[in-house]
């Protein structure tokens, strides 16, 4: 179910304050944040955020199309390295010891 319209979008207030300050000063500088659930609002466009993904901060440059999405959508929390199996094992062995066989 989607969020009730009467509440308006969720915007992290501390983050919003920081962005407003940058906008006032016409400055652009990456903002580190953990607020993955924060909705991207039009004021954010053109700024760069460093959004925490649980491990490190990933750079997200906000474009116009991103408005309405959440910051977390652009900072993936999982990294898929491929399945195990013979192929993967061979590749790993070839990588570790190229002179096998």
């Amino acid at each position: 179910m989607s969020r009730s319209a009467k509440k308006g979008p969720f915007v992290d207030e501390k983050l919003y304050k920081k962005v407003s300050k940058l906008n006032e000063n016409r400055a652009k500088q990456p903002i580190k944040t953990w607020a993955r659930a924060c909705t991207i609002i039009p004021e954010f466009v053109g700024h760069t955020f460093e959004v925490h993904n649980g491990n490190k901060f990933l750079r997200v440059f906000v474009q116009e199309d991103m408005v309405g999405h959440k910051l977390g959508e652009f900072s993936p929390t999982r990294q898929f390295r491929g399945h195990s199996g013979r192929k993967a094992a061979e590749a790993a062995a070839a990588g570790a010891a190229p002179a096998t066989k």
């Binding site: 474009q63 199309d65 991103m66 999405h69 977390g72 959508e73 652009f74 993936p76 399945h83 199996g85 013979r86």
Partner: protein, 128 residues
Amino acid sequence: MPRISGVDIPADKPIRISLRYIYGIGPTNADQILKELNIDGQRRAKELSEEDLARIIGIIDRSFLVEGALRRNIQQNVARLRDIGSWRGNRHRRSLPVRGQRTRSNARTRKGPRKTVAGKKGVKELGK
């Protein structure tokens, strides 16, 4: 065989059924259109007068997104998600379920036919 919105040629089925042959018109939309125009949905498409057909075509052209236009619209929406590098866009890119469904099992609609991996547990019992 009447033509509505381009290539669609529903036949001698009840009109409320034959309208569904148009991409973008389902049961709900079909009944809604007929109700608005006061046409009995049980009548066959061939029994309808030219005038009724024209009215149906008119209402679809005016207020429904169908066929090519709808397909394009969907494609654009997906392309947008991909271009902005969102999580959903990446799920589309890798043709995995987009709305948080499990992928450990099932998810065959998105993933396509099963690709059996040799050497994996349980493969021997299945027979080569």
